[in-house]
């Protein structure tokens, strides 16, 4: 249980997948300034991460490692991630038409989220058990959602601010993201400090 708590604290705060590892930055910048939309996008991505990890864990542990086929890992993760996203897309188009419409063209591009691939790949490299693997995917998803939500809040403020002409658009977004990411560096080592591991 303790190791799972450490995994969660590390993934959400001190080693946040977007703000510390710079993965999944594109969706963070692209999701825009509506916190509700950011939350939807974050939860969708988190669910995809959990599904992709849960799919790829048995394949890696039961097939690839015993057969010495680890070099095809990327292919397996990509397949797991894209199947999860395609599944999510189909489910959303049928059951939550409005949410799907609000995410629009970004929905299929969730598959292009390198954060999903990285979560699978990190679990495999750390040789997690199935429970640890799912927990770390959920924590990675929570960290992703947190980053998206915080950034949507910042974008809301940016939208009403008077920005110099040439900084408008993606430039100011990146600089704001840099400051947010800088502030998250303050969390580094917090898990080791609390749990003494």
């Amino acid at each position: 249980m303790r190791d799972i708590i450490v995994i969660v604290v590390t993934a959400v705060l001190s080693d946040n997948i977007v703000l510390s590892q710079a993965l999944g930055v594109c969706p963070m910048l692209g999701t825009g300034d509506k916190p509700a939309r950011a939350l939807r996008m974050g939860i969708l991505t988190a669910l995809c991460m959990i599904a992709a990890s849960a799919l790829s864990w048995p394949v890696t542990t039961l097939v690839l490692i015993p057969m010495g086929l680890e070099y095809t890992r990327t292919l397996v993760f990509v397949l797991a991630a894209s199947s999860a996203v395609q599944l999510a897309e189909t489910v959303m188009r049928h059951s939550f038409e409005k949410s799907a419409a609000s995410l629009g063209a970004y929905l299929p591009l969730t598959a292009a989220n390198c954060a999903i691939l990285e979560v699978c790949s990190q679990s495999a490299s750390a040789q997690f058990s199935f429970a640890q693997c799912v927990a770390s995917a959920a924590a990675g998803g929570a960290g992703f959602t947190l980053a998206l939500l915080l950034f949507a809040g910042i974008k809301e403020k940016i939208a009403s601010a008077d920005i110099p002409e040439s900084f408008r658009g993606i430039a100011i977004d990146l600089i704001a993201a840099a400051i947010l990411s800088l502030s998250f560096m303050g969390f580094s080592g917090i898990a080791a400090g609390i749990f003494g591991s």
Partner: protein
């Protein structure tokens, strides 16, 4: 969609719709990998190879792949070419592989590649897609190299490994980390905006699939 000439496609990919600076795509590997000029160049060339091959294969297969499973199909093809690029870089330029190796597999889910696949390759001829892939790849390479060079210069005081500023200006390792990357990229984009007189709202060529299109006030047509 009205067809563009090959020259126009080339110019758009490299300059007016540069994936990194104008459409702001493929940012994640740029921030994680392009901490020095040589890494940026290596990753960019690997991405060019993937984009070029993807352009040919996907546009040739566009009538064969069913719409419903296009995302997994695209990604499997991308992952295949990324694996090939991975092997080529590992064998021929091991020095660069040491820097970018762990991030090469992530090219398979690079949004530059998937977005091109989703919006260009599936709607255009093989020749156009090949030219387009090459152009976007070279534009991406130029962007990654520039970003890597600036970060290397400020963060380590070197350029392509040669000491230029070391000992003269204090080094700031922050620029080798994620926040420094975002800061440098943001400032480069702002400088480019100033130089080209392009503000965030002006149409910049390929609105289709542009990351900023959702918030862009002057987008052409519009997609829903």
């Amino acid at each position: 969609m009205n067809r563009k000439s090959k020259r126009q496609i080339l110019r758009e990919g490299i300059f007016t719709a540069n994936p990194l600076f104008i459409s702001a795509m493929g940012i994640c590997p740029a921030l994680a990998v392009a901490t020095q000029a040589s890494n940026g160049l290596g990753l960019g060339l690997a991405a060019t190879l993937v984009l070029f091959s993807m352009g040919i294969v996907l546009s040739a297969l566009k009538r064969v792949i069913p719409y419903g499973v296009r995302i997994p199909c695209t990604m499997v093809i991308a992952a295949t070419f990324v694996s090939i690029a991975d092997i080529i870089v590992r064998v021929y330029i091991p020095a660069v592989y040491a820097g970018i190796g762990p991030y090469l597999p992530l090219l398979a889910v690079n949004c530059v590649i998937l977005e091109r696949a989703e919006f260009f390759y599936t709607r255009n001829t093989v020749a156009d897609s090949a030219v387009h892939g090459l152009a976007v790849g070279l534009g991406y390479t130029a962007g990654l190299t520039l970003l890597g060079a600036v970060r290397e210069l400020i963060g380590k005081g070197t350029l392509f490994g040669a000491p230029i500023l070391s000992g003269v200006v204090p080094q700031t390792p922050l620029f080798l980390l994620a926040p420094g990357g975002m800061l440098v990229l943001g400032v480069i984009i702002a400088i480019l905006n100033k130089l080209t007189g392009r503000s965030a709202g002006s149409p910049c060529g390929d609105c289709e699939g542009c990351r900023s299109a959702a918030g862009c006030t002057k987008r052409k047509g519009g997609r829903s």
